[in-house]
């Protein structure tokens, strides 16, 4: 059974359950830590590094989404250094692929774009890599545009953990890493995809989208994940 822990986040005394993450505890206390790969209802992987925080007594920065609270912890969620580093991380996501907001289906509905705005990112110091990447439009209803993918793996996790089809996974490594369906074949020829569309729903950018959507057209956000997860837990 979980117990109660008391800790400080940004100087504010907060109480949390011992199995809660710093991110969770912060959210409950209206302290907002930026996140990108995190999505309520999915497991956390600590990959995007936006939610890193300073914990007193630890020289390393800790990902708030994967670090559980401890008694007496003193957490800082915003500092000059953290803001600069987060900004750099967002910049890196922009420059590694071809994120051209003006012609993206997710324009104005994109979490990456919103983060850039929040940290005041108005240009890139790093040169754009401009990789040649494919757009997979072979699925009858959906499109995967690798130019917009930030490898947050939300699609991989929702497909594995919630839909349990495990159509998506990550192939390759380093800057060559790509989201793939089945054996790297076109999405449309996937034998495991149930066309449920959950991956499209959870994609934070314009990498996965429904056919027929135009630029900037708002996408309906359906907060069904926590509900589905609860149903599954009850079944178990």
């Amino acid at each position: 059974m979980s117990e109660v822990r008391t800790l400080q986040i940004d100087g504010k005394d907060v109480a949390a359950r011992s199995d809660e993450t710093i991110l969770c505890a912060a959210e409950e206390n209206e302290i907002h830590i930026p996140t990108l790969c995190h999505l309520e209802g999915l497991s956390d992987v600590g990959a995007c590094r936006l939610c890193v925080v300073e914990v007193e007594g630890t020289p390393k920065l800790m990902a708030a989404c994967t670090t559980t609270v401890e008694e007496g912890m003193k957490v800082t969620t915003t500092s000059e250094r953290l803001v600069a580093y987060r900004r750099r991380a967002i910049e890196m996501l922009f420059v590694e692929r071809n994120h051209i907001c003006a012609v993206c289906v997710a324009n104005n509905n994109c979490e990456l774009q919103a983060h850039a705005r929040n940290v005041g990112l108005d240009h890139f110091e790093l040169p754009l890599m401009h990789p040649a990447l494919p757009v997979d439009a072979s699925h009858e209803r959906f499109v995967m545009d690798h130019n917009r993918c930030i490898l947050c793996t939300r699609c991989v996790r929702v497909c594995d953990e919630v839909e349990q089809a495990h159509t998506w996974d990550v192939a390759g490594r380093g800057t060559g890493a790509r989201i793939v369906s089945d054996l790297g074949m076109p999405w449309g020829s996937s034998t495991t995809c149930t066309s449920c569309g959950k991956c499209v729903q959870v994609c934070p950018t314009g990498a996965l989208f429904e056919k027929g959507r135009s630029i900037s057209e708002p996408k309906a956000r359906r907060p069904y994940l926590p509900y589905l997860v609860r149903v599954k837990e009850r079944e178990r």
Partner: protein, 140 residues
Amino acid sequence: MRELGYRPDALIEVLHTAQEAFGYLDAQALAYVGDRLGVPQSKAYGVATFYSYFTLEPEASHSCVVCTGTACYLDGAGALVSAVAGLLAARGQEAAPDRWLSLEEVRCLGPCSMAPVAVVDHEVHGKLTPPGLVSVVESL
């Protein structure tokens, strides 16, 4: 596979075995392995493309692996690679499907005292010079 008990965690071992048997991992092999071990296809593909030892392309008849670990790098591994690449280019065979020779770079094979090192058809050659390696390769 039977030996390893059809467990999902045997994936890498089984892929090693499959590659040894067929020379490379094609879609059919990956699908079969995934199926038998209860590993989703995309995961099998993800694993096969993560590790540099696995190849999804048919093997060339001969292989030349140049070590580019620190000691070899400092001792001129780069020149070895360019020499063999030059030879391949001259023969116009680098992209043919039934290639004559595959040229690979690998990070540190361990015999650093013999730097620079290359492995030609599984045989280790040390203290190489570019002409030396070219003559080894040409003798294949």
